[in-house]
């Protein structure tokens, strides 16, 4: 019963804002925050539902799934919904103050809610073509949001991103077309059922390659990464936080997992490809991040590197590794959005993002300083914080599975991560302050509030693997481990 509301609420909010937002002042702020708050509550409510029912299938319009469209709520869905809606609520809270300097705030919220509707739709749907439509809604909204400032660099980045993204979407659509011609159905569970009755052939491998190219471009794995370091820094800070924090994970990793693990049966060759791509992304992202002088650009390359960890962990494919990968996904969503929000707060106060022109801000911007410290320490894996545990699990799983060289590389890259985040902290918050910036002021209250909340989540997110909260993560892992059994689960829930 709650399932359609994950799409209805953001869509309805988006169009209400675009209808009334211009006329009534502050309405758009209020509506957007109420919308994301209710989404967060709904997604938290979905956790006990998953525990009770294991899997929930909603028939849209009352049609039985292989004919009609269905929405599926299982462990992985619930996990991703909590991640996305948690970050999006804190980001809307932040953008109330931050977006004051842009002219058309209500259009920002309209596009933002459309993007959110697309992301929630991707997560919740059980139909392959619906996934494509929601993916396109989210992508088009994000192209427009990257160009929101309409400065020269932003337009250039948005153009690059839109061209690459459209090519990726065409690959995905071609894959869906081929899969439809092979199985003559579009329902995910039904496709899986139909594929299991056919002999393994070249067709499934070709479709897998098309999906890998398409979703890989959306995820920004290294051979396909060129758009990300331009697009993510150019957007306004809340959008950077959304794009790096949850957007690439939903459009890329979630869709990739769902398609590879649950629909096409994953083979060891495909897993090996994922491991290789993950390793390359990890290394290249980290090395490119060190050389950057723009704060947001450094964070964007760091995103590539951390996405590499997640893909690497998923590629190993053992239960422990998948647990580590999903745990790292949640952690990365939290601390990367925190860091991007921090960079926005720095830009809000000092009007620059260049590391060489900053310094000594820790006294005048205490909240930003401490939360950045937390975020940086969490992402580089300092023990009590969340990032440490997820990286530890990934590395232990890699050693258990026999990937010794890879695990050594992962540890070295983690040290490298610490190095460039220390560089960020040193050049921004420590050292001598610029004379012209003696009396800059901290960002307004709501921005501080959302940064503090994210910082707190950063500290306590390590508790997710504590026995009390582990079932939440474990139910998401079980869905991926279920693999081909997804179809029995879905059709079983219908009976």
């Amino acid at each position: 019963m709650i399932l359609p509301f994950f799409v209805i609420i953001p869509l309805g909010t988006a169009f209400l804002i675009s209808l009334f937002g211009k006329r009534i002042k502050n309405l758009s702020d209020l509506l957007a925050n109420l919308g994301t708050l209710s989404l967060l509550i709904f997604s938290l409510y979905s956790i006990p539902q998953v525990f009770v029912h294991k899997i929930l299938v909603y028939k849209v319009g009352g049609w039985i799934p292989p004919i009609g469209i269905c929405m599926v709520l299982d462990g992985l869905t619930s996990f991703m919904l909590v991640t996305v809606n948690l970050v999006s609520f804190l980001v809307t809270l932040y953008s109330v103050n931050y977006m004051e300097r842009y002219t058309d705030k209500h259009r920002f919220y309209t596009l933002f809610m459309l993007m959110l509707a697309g992301m929630n739709g991707i997560i919740i749907t059980g139909d392959l073509f619906n996934l494509f439509v929601f993916l396109e809604i989210a992508s088009i909204a994000s192209y427009a949001l990257v160009a929101f400032g309409t400065e020269a660099e932003e337009l250039e980045a948005s153009f690059k991103y839109a061209v690459m993204g459209s090519v990726a979407s065409s690959f995905i659509l071609l894959g869906i077309a081929l899969l439809y011609s092979y199985t003559s159905t579009l329902n995910m569970a039904d496709i899986s059922l139909s594929l299991s009755g056919k002999p393994a052939g070249m067709m499934v491998s070709f479709v897998a390659v098309l999906f890998l190219a398409g979703f890989g471009l959306k995820t920004a794995l290294v051979p396909f990464h060129a758009w990300l370091p331009d697009a993510h820094p150019s957007a306004p800070a809340p959008i950077s936080a959304m794009l790096s924090g949850v957007f690439i994970k939903t459009l890329g990793i979630y869709a990739l997992c769902r398609v590879f693990f649950n629909i096409l049966t994953v083979s060891s060759r495909l897993l090996f490809v994922l491991i290789v791509l993950g390793m390359i992304s990890m290394v290249v992202g980290a090395f490119l991040a060190i050389a950057q002088t723009d704060i947001k650009r450094m964070f964007a390359y760091s995103s590539i590197s951390q996405i590499g960890y997640i893909i690497f962990a998923l590629g190993i494919g053992t239960p422990l590794a998948i647990l580590g990968g999903l745990f790292h996904l949640f952690n990365h969503a939290v601390f990367k959005s925190l860091l991007f929000l921090n960079s926005g707060a720095i830009e809000y106060s000092t009007h620059t993002r260049n590391l060489n022109r900053l310094g000594g801000l820790s006294r005048s911007l205490p909240v930003t300083g401490y939360t950045s410290l937390l975020g940086s320490m969490a992402i580089s894996g300092i023990p009590p914080l969340g990032g440490f545990w997820s990286k530890l699990i990934i590395i232990i799983a890699a050693i258990q599975a026999g990937y010794f060289v890879s695990s050594v590389v992962a540890i070295l890259i983690s040290i490298l991560t610490l190095a460039y985040y220390l560089k960020f902290l040193k050049f921004t918050f420590f050292g001598k302050i610029n004379e012209a910036r003696q009396n800059i002021r901290e960002a307004p209250g709501l921005m501080k509030l959302s940064m503090i909340l994210l910082g707190i989540i950063c500290v306590i997110s390590g508790l997710l693997i504590a026995p009390l909260f582990k079932p939440f993560l474990q139910s998401a892992v079980n869905v991926l481990l279920l693999g081909n059994g997804y179809k029995e689960a879905v059709f079983g829930a219908l009976r």
Binding site: V133, E153, V167, D230, A291
Partner: protein, 112 residues
């Protein structure tokens, strides 16, 4: 079979256009070619020889009909293509306003 191969050829022409051309407008046209190749392929999947439209008519039994589902899906995909193209054209106009050129090799303020 040959019509499917021609679709792939069209797809590759579009991809070549996107990758090799230097003019922004030509890149947008290339994206359009890619989209149309995929749409054409999708429609051809649903085609049956001597099939007719799956619409009920008075006093007629339909024996062999074309699969209507890909047509509905392609309609959606065309609309998506329209939205992407319109957005890209709008961005291209803005880029021309800022940089004074459509040449992609001269629009390089972002690097590294």
């Amino acid at each position: 079979m040959s019509e499917y191969i021609l679709c792939f050829v069209l797809f590759c022409i579009g991809l070549y256009c996107v990758l090799r051309k230097r003019n922004i407008i030509k890149i947008i046209i290339g994206l359009g070619i890619i989209e149309y190749a995929v749409n054409l392929f999708f429609v051809l999947i649903g085609y049956r020889a001597h099939g007719r439209a799956p619409i009920l008519a008075k006093d007629q039994a339909i024996l062999n009909m074309v699969d209507p589902l890909p047509q509905a899906l392609v309609l959606t995909s065309i609309v998506i293509g329209l939205a992407v193209t319109a957005l890209l054209v709008a961005i291209a106009i803005r880029i021309y306003e800022k940089y004074g050129t459509f040449d992609i090799t001269k629009i390089r303020r972002l690097r590294g």
